[in-house]
């Protein structure tokens, strides 16, 4: 057989690896900052740009799309070349992919801090960036499938199956969830509203976990674990079974983020059941990884890289067991809206994504620089710091989450809430938040050790920009299925067919869940008293979104006695039909606001209270951990945007009268003057043009469309 000589491109891998490290530091430091902000309001620095509602999305986006994203591309660009015995399809596309992605991250950081957000978790980036992501993702896809088509191996390895599924699913999720109509250069409204928006968003959000944090990392694992351990993969059959079951089942599980909300029962049931069925397919990956180390356990004891892989895989196994448990409604009734969820995701993020990434980097960097790791001892120290960090991070949040949930639900023998003041349940958590921040700082310290180790390693070696390799050319792939060939073996020779099958597998669940919520009307029963927001309320709502209030406040009262007692009548699907985007929230660091404006309600506060509270929450409540928003009383409402907003809302089906966009600002001013007058009566001198007036108008509107419980005879 004639051997062809060619070069592996290490430069693209090295660039992505450097980006991984740089954004890793940024993402983790942002995490530490938000962990401190949550219990020390002064850490918000009294600046709109550095306040929790904006820094927290920056942390999550940096950790997921910058740190983990670049780690994925590092793994893909290194392993694909070697698994397919070819250089990547195009150096140029690789470069565009690299620089495009980094630019997107920078644009994301700037716009998020400036307050441009779509208000949908993990999909906060606005429409121009959404478009850029789509373009870069397609370029990545072309480069990836181009490489598959010029490969020199007949079959494609399991790692690449996962890369293929990742690519197609992320593309579908991102595009469908980001369909939005712009009303300005940097802002848009999503086409979906209320419950439907929530369903699409969590179909996206959950599967971002599945296909951005999980499947590409399984691909990474399938390459780097056997490489580092120098052992064969435990079971090829298990690879096949867990790959297909995982990608098929995962896509259905999104509704488990909306249990006990006003999402229809049948969808919630699918969320629960498919989550439970995910346990075995998820564990298949963990088992195939851990058992690959069979025969290499003595090496694991000495090698920090393998140690990181073992803890990473174990963390994966733990969080993929915990996730399905949290999807059981009885457990979710306790865990939802609390810090338990935050603890849960960080087992995955710090354990699985973090340690797998660091293990990969410690293995990869010496090879790229043709030298040995600068200090194994330092890597070992990193391993122990990170492992301790995970414990110090997660345990207090579990304790805090459960404690708070139980306090929310506790009644006195007389039938009143034992803790009617929400704040009491928050002050309980402060020590837990402090310990969590300590855990986080351990993890950051470990990351800094990695930076030193990686830089020193690179300095000690010489960068192997091009790596020579040779392999025989691939004989024509037109060969039909052989008699002795399994169907899957045949599929492994046909990457495009593989892509099509994977696409079908991931489309079924989404179609089954999303389409009926549009076609079957009973899923969102209409409530005739629900009316569109007034222009002032709409402006206020956009301020609510801009300041990221949804990061700490939910707007979804669950049908429990304890919640109805605390907040008022539980939320109905029909109440949210004009909410582009929905603002259910997923965490109650502060109380639920779904009925905040109901005057006969339990949590009603006068306009003056809201005014003072926005400017200085600690004045109203010494122990409050809400940051102050004084700029709301200084900045003017952007009246020039009102007509465009109304126009887009009308396009989305919100029934404003004809030509209302021309009249909207007059109505806005009149309503604002009324509120300002009311504030003046309470002794607060303010102009009616300020943003705070719009936000108060929105807050006082919340939950007021239905004042009496519906008579349910649908």
């Amino acid at each position: 057989m004639e051997l062809e000589k060619f070069m592996y491109d290490n430069k693209i891998t090295r660039n992505f690896a450097v980006a991984t490290v740089v954004w890793g530091v940024v993402g983790l430091l942002m995490g530490l900052i938000v962990a401190l902000q949550i219990f020390i309001p002064a850490m918000n620095f009294n600046l709109e740009f550095t306040t929790f509602g904006r820094t927290r999305p920056l942390h999550t986006n940096a950790a997921i799309f910058a740190f983990v994203g670049n780690a994925i591309f590092t793994a893909v660009y290194y392993s694909m070349q070697r698994l397919l015995k070819t250089r990547m399809f195009s150096d140029l596309l690789g470069k565009i992919h690299f620089w495009g992605w980094q630019l997107i991250i920078v644009a994301a950081a700037v716009t998020l801090l400036a307050g441009y957000t779509s208000g949908k978790e993990y999909a906060e980036l606005e429409w121009p960036i959404d478009l850029a992501i789509t373009v870069v993702w397609v370029i990545f896809g072309i480069n990836m499938f181009g490489t598959l088509l010029i490969r020199r191996t007949s079959h494609i390895y399991v790692a690449i199956w996962f890369y293929i599924a990742t690519w197609v699913t992320v593309a579908v999720l991102h595009i469908v969830n980001s369909i939005e109509i712009p009303y300005s250069l940097l802002k848009s409204y999503p086409v979906y509203a209320g419950v439907q928006d929530a369903l699409v968003q969590w179909w996206y959000g959950h599967n971002a976990v599945a296909f951005f944090l999980t499947t590409p990392f399984l691909g990474l694992m399938y390459y780097f674990v056997p490489k580092a351990a120098n052992r064969p993969i435990y079971s090829y059959k298990l690879s096949i079974v867990h790959f297909w079951s995982l990608i098929f089942i995962y896509i259905w599980a999104g509704p488990h983020h909306l249990l006990y909300t006003s999402l229809p029962n049948w969808l919630q049931a699918l969320g629960t059941t498919f989550s439970i069925m995910l346990i075995a397919p998820s564990w298949g990956g963990m088992i195939n990884g851990l058992l690959t180390l069979r025969g290499a356990w003595d090496k694991v004891r000495r090698d920090p890289i393998l140690k990181m892989f073992v803890v990473g895989l174990t963390a994966y196994g733990m969080s993929t067991f915990e996730g399905p448990m949290l999807s059981l409604k009885t457990v979710n009734a306790i865990s939802h809206y609390t810090d338990w969820t935050i603890g849960h995701v960080h087992i995955g993020a710090l354990g699985w994504n973090g340690l797998m990434t660091f293990g990969m980097l410690y293995w990869l960097i010496p090879r790229l620089y043709n030298t040995k790791l600068w200090s194994t001892k330092l890597a070992n120290a990193h391993f122990w710091l990170a492992t301790l960090a995970i414990i110090f991070y997660a345990v207090p949040l579990y304790i805090g989450g459960i404690t708070q949930a139980l306090m929310w639900k506790q009644f006195t023998p007389d039938g009143f809430l034992l803790y009617p003041n929400f704040l009491e349940t928050v002050t309980q958590l402060i020590p837990m938040y402090a310990i969590r921040a300590f855990g986080g700082s351990l993890y950051v310290t470990g990351m800094l050790l990695a930076v030193v180790n990686i830089v020193k390693t690179a300095q000690a070696g010489t960068f192997l920009k091009e790596e020579a390799a040779e392999a025989p050319a691939l004989k024509t792939q037109e060969m039909p299925k052989q008699d002795n060939e399994s169907w899957h073996g045949f599929l492994e020779r046909k990457p495009i067919r593989f892509l099509i099958f994977a696409t079908i597998a991931i489309l079924i669940g989404g179609l089954f869940e999303i389409v009926p919520t549009y076609l079957v009307k009973s899923n969102v029963p209409t409530i005739s008293s629900v009316k569109p927001y007034t222009p002032l309320e709409l402006q206020g709502r956009d301020i609510y979104i801009k300041e990221g209030c949804y990061n700490c406040h939910s707007q979804m009262i669950r049908p429990f006695r304890s919640e109805v007692e605390r907040y008022g009548e539980y939320s109905k699907a029909g109440e949210f039909v004009y909410d582009h985007p929905f603002q259910f929230g997923s965490k109650r660091t502060g109380p639920d606001l779904a009925r905040e404006g109901v005057k006969t309600g339990k949590i009603y506060k006068p306009n003056a209270w809201h005014y003072n509270h926005f400017i200085d929450p600690q004045k109203m409540n010494e122990a409050s951990i809400m940051p102050p928003y004084p700029w709301l009383a200084e900045k003017d409402i952007d009246l020039s945007s009102t007509p465009a907003k109304i126009r887009v809302m009308k396009k989305l089906g919100v029934p404003y009268p004809d030509n209302y966009e021309h009249q909207a600002n007059d109505d806005l001013k009149a309503q604002a003057e009324e509120i300002a007058q009311n504030l003046r009566e309470a002794g607060i001198e303010t102009e009616s043009t300020k943003e705070i007036i719009a936000l108060i108008a929105y807050i006082q509107r919340l939950g007021t469309d239905i004042t009496t419980p519906e008579t349910s005879n649908e």
Partner: protein
């Protein structure tokens, strides 16, 4: 090195057969079957899922329909309350004035202080330590305000949030604040109230 491995049919350490022809950048795969326990775990979860979906889609069982769950929770509560009402009334324990004031102070700190200040000095809501009252300073007038609220001013009704005893306790506590003269007092609002000489 890769060449050598290719010739091998079995893994040296585990004596398990390799998948023939599979060698990806030196990575080989073993011909192990799925761990049986994992397979059975998968089957069990599928059985669970199918049964659960039957409950929802076929039997429409109350336990998986949240509106019904809520109705049942509330019905059980009302039943318990009725039974309690039928049972002999519990003897009310005599409490000292100190105990009443302490209980009132707790409620005040949890609820009232948000608007009326930590020491009753007044914030958004009026001062509770001076002699001036907007809606009357007698015990009965104040109780009316707490029970029904003054919604146009932002004072909500606490009828459903505080028990009768809790309301009485907190009012006793508020009366004890008269003349405490805390810092940062809000200016007096309403009419001056002078308790009648023979009032309690």
């Amino acid at each position: 090195m890769t060449q050598d491995k290719k010739q091998q049919e079995y893994d040296d350490l585990t004596k398990i057969k390799y998948i023939g022809g599979h060698d990806y950048d030196g990575i080989r795969e073993l011909d192990n079957r799925l761990p049986p326990w994992l397979k059975y775990l998968f089957y069990v979860t599928i059985v669970f899922a199918v049964s659960y979906l039957m409950l929802v889609f076929v039997f429409e069982d109350d336990s998986v329909i949240q509106e019904k769950e809520y109705q049942n929770e509330m019905a059980a509560l009302h039943q318990a309350e009725e039974q309690e009402a039928e049972a002999a009334p519990v003897e009310v324990k005599e409490r000292t004035q100190e105990e009443i004031l302490a209980a009132g102070k707790v409620t005040f700190g949890k609820i009232c202080s948000v608007c009326h200040g930590k020491f009753g000095e007044g914030l958004v809501g009026p001062n509770m330590t001076d002699e001036y009252w907007i809606h009357g300073g007698s015990f009965e007038d104040m109780k009316t305000v707490v029970l029904n609220g003054v919604i146009e001013k932002g004072m909500i009704s606490y009828k459903n949030q505080l028990s009768n005893t809790q309301i009485d306790d907190v009012l006793t506590y508020i009366h004890s604040l008269q003349g405490t003269n805390p810092p940062n007092q809000k200016e007096p609002q309403g009419e001056k109230y002078v308790p009648e000489a023979n009032a309690e």
